[in-house]
Symmetry: C2
Subunit: 233 residues, 2 copies
């Protein structure tokens, strides 16, 4: 592979990342992408095979370093903790920071990539499902192990749900971070990585270690609560 052909590959990847992120996979046409990249239309099929394969390449190019950084930071945190359990907020930091960092212009990708990965994790393209599972499988194993050590009082079934809520909050914040300045009436400034990260960790740490309600400890006894309002009074 020559050095110029690598340049066209990269230009295609950059343009595709931006347009897939802004418009989504179905609405970003190859002609838009190749025009913006300044390359010929046929270059996509020549270098990547198909539109779907281009999409895979765009996602994998960014997700893999993010997940590697997550595991690296988690390893450092474990080392630092010694034989003590890793502090919950440190675990969350290793998980969230590598992603949100990409939107703060600290690293390539930026806002379009965050919208792209957020969209594809909340609403996956069918042909990406297997690929995604393969990329995230090692993470699931490592984080569940660390979390069960840090939060020994939380049953695994509860932990599973709470991690889903954590991921949901993270992805929603990642996708909308740049809209918040406009929709928050001045309560949020753009590109405030530290602020967003701290708030998200505050929120999710509290949620993850929330005390168990009666229903959570006796799941078999939970029944439909007809009037939930009374229950909370």
């Amino acid at each position: 592979m020559s050095i110029e052909s690598q340049a066209t590959r990269d230009r295609i990847l950059d343009a595709a990342e931006r347009l897939f992120g802004l418009n989504g996979f179905p609405c970003a046409s190859l002609r838009q992408i190749t025009d913006e990249a300044g390359v010929n239309l046929a270059a996509v099929n020549y270098h990547f095979g198909s539109k779907e394969d281009l999409y895979k390449a765009v996602l994998i190019r960014r997700i893999r370093p993010v997940n590697e950084e997550r595991l690296t930071r988690l390893g450092q945190a474990e080392q630092l903790a010694g034989d003590q359990p890793v502090p919950l907020r440190a675990i969350l930091d290793t998980f969230i920071r590598p992603l949100l960092r990409r939107a703060a212009n600290e690293l390539p990708g930026g806002m379009p990539f965050l919208r792209l990965i957020s969209r594809d994790l909340t609403d996956p393209q069918p042909f990406m499902l297997d690929e995604m599972v393969r990329e995230f499988d090692p993470l699931v194993a490592r984080y569940t192990r660390v979390l069960t050590q840090t939060l020994p009082g939380i049953p695994l079934s509860e932990l599973f749900w709470r991690m889903q809520f954590t991921i949901g909050g993270m992805l929603y914040a990642a996708a909308h971070q740049h809209d918040f300045e406009r929709t928050s009436c001045g309560l949020c400034r753009e590109n405030d990585l530290d602020g967003c990260l701290r708030r998200l960790i505050d929120f999710c740490a509290a949620g993850l270690q929330a005390p168990l309600t009666k229903a959570a400890m006796q799941p078999a006894a939970s029944t439909l609560q007809q009037n939930a309002l009374l229950h909370y009074q």
Copy 2:
């Protein structure tokens, strides 16, 4: 409008809801929709004007009752609380239950609608933005007022972010509820409205009333934390 034409309108709306929810707006074609509805292709443009207007009609038909139910339940909760602030978990229940209820076959719409609304709130179709703001504006005003009364210690700027995380967790859970049974290795059963609702409320209530970290109380002093791991040890 005759009674049969209303029937074709409804058949189109039902089929569109299912296919928009499953495949997304761009990938669900009008021919798919009209075939499944058993009506002629031109009926969509005749009754709704365009594909975009059909999409609007599909969303509004379900969102409006959900938001009305939210405000009704919130009103009941306020009445029940008297001059006391409404309990946080009760507020969250009025907000989340009317949506998740739709997926538990308690009400029409079901899983496709939840995927649809979840997708359009996390990744809105551009032409729906104004319509959505109009539908949700009254909610924002009411819920921020009630929440500031219940959580007087949380600054508005923090509350804004925490509500975004709450919404993100709710939408993610709503969209994936039916996948969890498959991906959770038996930790989650499908259609468990009460279980999902309780866990989500446990999580978000703890997150919303989480104690403020130093950075949250002195936002001006927050600087980029180069090595966040040490910070948590």
